[in-house]
């Protein structure tokens, strides 16, 4: 066969073959563990009256059930619609063997929905075996195995002919085999898909569980945000206290002294005044620096588009930054500022660590999500979890339900994509007074 024809044929067969293997895996996993876990669960529940052994045993069995079903949920990725985990984290202090743990386990609806799934799951998982068995049986016929067996042992059956009593029927095993193989490969994917759709009814979080998980996530990010804000305020307070404020005190002292010396020692008074001048310059420089860290003035003046352009001009050491902006309006100020600081941090990383010569930033808003991409042609190998820089960006974004994904294979390129859900408004004006 020609090479390209072979590869097209393989492309046709591949999804079915893959689904056949997946079906086998699903069947083996659910047939073996579900039934065993069901038996364990029933036994441990039955042992509750027997000296209360079940009180300790049932939570332990639940741990095993959750392990197995977590694995099964993970397999559901194969269908393209992964089933989320409904489990809440174990409360502190509820160790295995404690009464508290037992109460928590039996009051968690996920426990009983898992339990309800075990037997139906074993049944539909068993059906998934067909995804593997059908193509395998088809292959047997297609490869003339029945014919060979008929000729050697004289008695065999295949497909609709049981037993095959003449050579014609033995030959007919091949076309039947092809049909069964084709049909098997075609339905394999749907068998696996159906199994996991059915699993979703038991294993996916209920609406209430989803909301509980969401509340937990929001509480965690809010706590993080509040901490970060408090730390920021503390830093600003310290900077003002040790910086501008102290300098203003010195300034007043110089001016006061100069005032006193004006009549008797004008030369010294003049010197003090020029000192005061210099001190005030330092104080202003510090304030400018501080303001830039709180809310960059260029962001207030030009919005995110302009501010990112301005950033690209200040990357040090210089990197050629392509800026591709497609924002018809402005995100809310807080989101804008989060995106700005994220881009600033990432561009600093690019300039300092990547060894890149070119970088790009793109801002797009689509389907209610602000998508920011920062990429470079540097050496790659950036670790999203190493270093406080990227972790800080992630935390900043999490406050707005934003996410960050990093792809940075060794040798590059590094691409960081950030997504922030938000709506755009037409270019805003600041209602409050302010001046530049």
């Amino acid at each position: 066969m020609d090479r390209s024809v072979r590869s097209t044929v393989w492309q046709q067969i591949r999804p079915g073959a893959l689904a056949a293997v997946q079906g086998l895996a699903v069947a083996l996993l659910s047939l073996s563990t579900n039934v065993a876990l069901f038996a364990l669960s029933v036994v441990s529940l039955a042992l509750i009256p027997a000296l209360g052994i079940g009180f300790a045993l049932f939570p332990a069995v639940t741990v095993l059930v959750r392990l197995s079903l977590t694995a099964q949920r993970r397999l559901s990725r194969w269908t393209g619609a992964p089933i989320a985990s409904p489990y809440a984290p174990v409360p502190a202090g509820a160790r295995l063997g404690t009464w508290q743990r037992f109460r928590w386990v039996v009051s968690d609806p996920a426990t009983w929905r898992d339990f309800a799934w075990l037997i139906p799951g074993a049944v539909t998982g068993g059906v998934c075996l067909l995804a593997f068995v059908l193509p395998a049986y088809g292959l047997e016929g297609a490869l003339f195995v029945p014919l060979v067996l008929y000729l050697t042992i004289g008695w065999y059956g295949y497909g609709v002919f049981w037993p095959m009593d003449n050579l014609v029927k033995a030959w007919l095993a091949a076309p039947q085999g092809w049909l069964i193989l084709a049909g098997g490969l075609a339905v394999a994917h749907w068998l696996v898909w159906l199994h996991f759709r059915f699993a979703g009814f038991f294993l996916a979080p209920t609406r209430a569980q989803e909301l509980a998980l969401r509340v937990r996530h929001l509480a965690a990010t809010r706590a993080d945000t509040v901490d970060t804000q408090a730390a920021e305020l503390r830093r600003i307070e310290r900077d003002l206290h040790d910086g501008a404020q102290a300098r203003l005190v010195a300034l007043r002292m110089s001016i006061g002294l100069a005032e006193q010396l004006m009549a008797n020692d004008p030369a010294r008074a003049a010197r003090l005044l020029s000192e005061a001048q210099e001190t005030s310059g330092h104080a202003l420089a510090e304030l400018r620096h501080l303001v830039r860290g709180i809310y960059p003035p260029v962001l207030a003046e030009r919005g995110l588009n302009g501010a990112v352009q301005a950033l690209a001009l200040t990357v040090a050491p210089p990197v050629d930054v392509d800026v591709d902006l497609d924002l018809p309006g402005s995100p809310p100020a807080a989101v804008e500022s989060a995106a700005y600081f994220a881009v600033a941090e990432l561009l600093t990383n690019v300039a300092k660590h990547s060894g890149a010569r070119r970088a790009w930033v793109s801002l797009v808003h689509r389907d209610g999500v602000l998508r920011t991409e920062v990429g470079d042609d540097g050496r790659g190998g950036a670790m999203p979890d190493a270093g406080t820089g990227l972790a800080g960006v992630r935390r900043r974004l999490a406050a707005f339900d934003g996410t960050m994904t990093v792809t940075s294979p060794p040798g590059g390129p590094t691409v960081v994509t950030m997504e922030l859900p938000c709506e755009l408004s037409s270019r805003r004006t600041l209602p409050s007074s302010g001046t530049g």
Binding site: Q277, S280, G281, L284, A285, R288, V291, R292, P297, V298, A300, E301, R302, G303, G306, Q309, A310, L313, T314, V315, A316, P317, P318, T429, L430, S432, S433, G434, T435, G436
Partner: protein, 214 residues
């Protein structure tokens, strides 16, 4: 000189007016918001306009936009832009028309009255004035790169002062050297950086800034 001021904070507006009066200049009009800038400039045709970047009603870059618009309508009108902070982006936009008569300074610079009045005069005379902060940022970004690394410390100093828009005489005065020494430094710089030498001060500023910005 006849000056138009655009500044929204009364305290600073009065301060500027005061300083200009004390130095023998006439403030023909002082406006406090963006939309009034252009009409005031077309009405008075001043020798120079001093404009704050951020003005009401939007408190964004209304003043800068008005200044850029005025330069389009009244080509060559000298404008000195003041701001609480400097941005390379704004410097670039102000220099884009290459016409001269442009200045961009931090507001703090006003406190050094002598230098501020000098800058005002240079801009009104068609010169270019860049805030040292803009130049420092540019130099800090690029100083580690070839061929700027080949410059001596003194040459780098001269390069910075050139980018701020100072004449050879002013640079010589600043560094306590002769004008001849300054032009020798400048020749060295231009040949090390591979830039065509230029006697025209404005073109020199543009060339240096463009070089540092590239």
């Amino acid at each position: 000189m006849r000056v138009v001021i655009a500044e929204d904070l009364a305290l600073l507006r009065d301060g500027l007016t005061h300083i200009l009066h004390a130095n023998g200049h006439q403030v023909v009009e002082a406006v406090a918001d963006g939309p009034s800038v252009l009409p005031a400039l077309t009405r008075h045709h001043p020798d120079i306009a001093v404009v704050d970047v951020r003005l009401p009603p939007t408190f964004t870059d209304e003043g800068l936009q008005a200044a850029l618009a005025a330069r389009m309508q009244l080509p060559g009108l000298p404008i000195l832009v003041l701001s609480q902070h400097v941005e390379q982006l704004y410097a670039r936009e102000l220099l884009a028309d290459r016409n001269g008569g442009v200045g961009y300074l931090l507001k703090d610079r006003v406190s050094n009255v002598g230098q501020f009045i000098d800058a005002l005069r240079r801009v009104a005379g068609g010169g270019m004035v860049m805030d040292p902060e803009v130049v420092t940022q540019l130099l800090a970004r690029t100083s580690g790169m070839q061929p700027l690394r080949d410059l001596t410390a003194r040459e780098r100093e001269v390069l910075g002062l050139m980018a701020e828009g100072r004449s050879n005489a002013a640079i010589a005065g600043r560094l306590f050297v002769t004008e001849k020494a300054v032009s020798k430094h400048i020749n060295n710089i231009f040949s090390k950086l591979g830039m065509p030498p230029s006697d025209d001060d404005n073109r020199r500023v543009l060339a240096v800034l463009a070089y540092l910005n590239s």
